[in-house]
């Protein structure tokens, strides 16, 4: 059997000295997609930032298509606390290498580059792919006609939904082999939200593995094969799409019957 797309084993991390999440195990096989569902402020975003290398993991391993993304071993936190961690030890993970491997993280509520135009942003993203096979600019424009219409505008002048679309488009252009979407539909109007959901569904149908964080169970159901429940910095449950209860059921699983 081929290596899983993403294999996270026993991963712990946070912002030193505060640990945010611990002992996370997550596996994503070829052609699958996973969802993460959990309350706000419990470390989902920090976990994703660790996956993409923005924050060094404390312990555990991240394997992407079989390749180790971080340096193994415990991070010496207590002993080194009074030293300059970066000068004394090497960094345990490099975000650009993670992105070059094809693990692309589209951040939550990302402002992108406010003073750059849509076109400039998209061309930078294609350059960041460094010749690896990604989506072509034409494909992305077809996927997001709304973004294509505003190509000459600065991102600062776009609406929240359009900005989110630019983020996803930029992610697609930088040649992903796994797309991590962190609450892409947060705070959008229903119409724009539907457009974005349809586009993400189209991306999913091309066979692109996706890790999706969202609060909308209906949307999650359309995209994912496996759902992880994320609670207090731990994975508290794992279920297939068929086993997924409705929104109230999930809330009951997370908070007990009387939430």
């Amino acid at each position: 059997m081929s290596d899983p797309v993403l294999h996270v084993k026993n991963l712990s991390g946070g912002y030193d000295p505060v640990q945010i999440f611990q002992e996370i195990d997550l596996i994503l096989h070829q052609g699958e997609s996973a969802g993460i569902f959990g309350p706000n402020g419990h470390g989902k975003t920090t976990f994703l930032k660790t996956l993409s290398g923005l924050i060094d993991p404390w312990s555990g391993t991240i394997r992407f298509h079989g390749d180790l993304m971080n340096r193994e071993g415990e991070r010496g936190s207590r002993k080194w606390r009074n030293f300059n961690y970066d000068a004394v030890t090497r960094r345990r993970m490099d975000p650009k290498k993670v992105a070059w491997a094809g693990l692309i993280h589209v951040q939550q509520g990302n402002l992108m580059f406010p003073e750059l135009t849509v076109d400039e942003t998209l061309s930078i993203s294609s350059e960041a792919a460094r010749g690896r096979d990604g989506w072509t600019p034409e494909q992305v424009r077809d996927l997001f006609p709304r973004v294509a219409e505003r190509r000459g505008h600065k991102i600062r002048f776009l609406s929240g939904g359009e900005r989110q679309m630019v983020s996803v488009a930029a992610g697609l252009l930088s040649a992903p082999r796994l797309l991590i979407l962190d609450e892409p539909t947060l705070g959008l109007s229903p119409k724009i939200r539907q457009e974005l959901c349809d586009a993400i569904l189209k991306v999913r149908k091309t066979g692109m593995p996706i890790i999706l964080i969202d609060q909308d169970v209906g949307f999650l159901e359309q995209i994912i094969d496996t759902l992880y429940l994320f609670d207090h910095g731990r994975i508290s449950g794992r279920m297939t799409r068929e086993e997924m209860p409705d929104h109230d059921g999930l809330m009951a699983l997370l908070f007990g019957e009387h939430h």
Partner: protein
């Protein structure tokens, strides 16, 4: 004030403004991209002047001025990039990187200035002037070297502006300065572009040093007063965009030239600081400033 005096004050102000523009641009390039303030910028100014002297002076390697300036730029770019890896990169992920880089760049400034003294000695030096003779336009005559200086500075600033606007690395530098995390997540090589920004900044400082060296005598501490002025320019103008320190530099340069004429050399800095305070009271982000800082 008669027309001739007015013109010579104006001319002095423009030359000062051009030099300040070059210095302030380099300073704000690092400030907008890396978010740190480079106190070694003044030492870079002196270093550039001394390297250019080494290349061009009849007492040293005696190259013509143009190749000397180009070689100086190349050396300064390398020095700037190296300084980024020595002074800023090791601390970039710390929360107090701004404070630490104040200390490291101040240290580098002291080391560089004393190094200059050690290598080239305390004797005053001067770089050969950019041109000789005068350009006569009707009733006005201008010294050729000052005209060349003005043209060169404007060309350099225009070149940097076009580079940032249209060239691929320039565009990526703007992206990195606006949202570092997003750039990292796309797989852009952020440390490389930081090093390029630092290198470019050192080049502008070095060139400013060369131009100062052609009109004044050089000493290892020659950069500290211009650094102060460049700082005033950056604060006064704000750093909303690449061009805002440039306008501010010419305003400050002209203001300085006129206040020297009106209130004398000793009170001119007081006028500058007073103007800066008034501007900051009214527009805290600087004259052309906006909250968002970008290249």
């Amino acid at each position: 004030m008669d027309a001739a005096t007015l013109f010579s004050v104006l001319q002095g102000g423009l030359v000062l403004g051009a030099l300040y523009a070059l210095m302030a641009t380099g300073l704000s390039l690092v400030w907008t991209t890396l978010g740190i303030f480079n106190f070694a910028h003044g030492a870079f100014i002196a270093l550039g002047a001394y390297i250019a002297w080494q290349f061009s002076s009849a007492d040293a390697w005696n190259l013509p001025l143009l190749p000397a300036i180009l070689l100086t730029s190349a050396v300064m770019f390398a020095v700037g990039a190296l300084m980024h890896f020595l002074l800023v990169k090791p601390f970039e992920r710390r929360a107090d990187v701004v404070l630490i880089s104040v200390i490291t760049t101040l240290a580098a400034s002291a080391i560089l200035e004393n190094g200059l003294l050690l290598i080239w000695g305390p004797r005053s030096k001067q770089i050969p002037p950019l041109g000789e003779g005068e350009v006569v336009l009707g009733q006005i005559s201008l010294s050729t070297s000052e005209v060349i200086l003005l043209v060169l500075v404007l060309a350099i600033l225009l070149g940097i502006g076009l580079f940032l606007r249209y060239a691929r690395p320039g565009r990526i530098m703007r992206a990195v300065s606006q949202n570092r995390e997003a750039a990292e997540l796309l797989g852009l090589n952020v440390p490389l572009y930081f090093a390029i920004a630092f290198g470019l900044s050192a080049v502008t400082a070095g060139l400013a040093g060369v131009f100062v060296g052609t009109i004044r005598f050089m000493n290892p501490a020659m950069g500290s007063e211009p650094l102060m002025k460049a700082l005033i320019v950056v604060i006064f103008g704000g750093v909303a965009r690449f061009s805002s320190p440039i306008y501010a530099a010419f305003i400050i340069g002209l203001l300085e030239a006129f206040s020297i004429y009106v209130v004398g050399l000793y009170w001119a800095p007081a006028v500058l600081f007073f103007t800066m305070i008034v501007v900051l009271l009214i527009k805290p982000e600087g004259l052309f400033g906006k909250h968002q800082r970008t290249l």
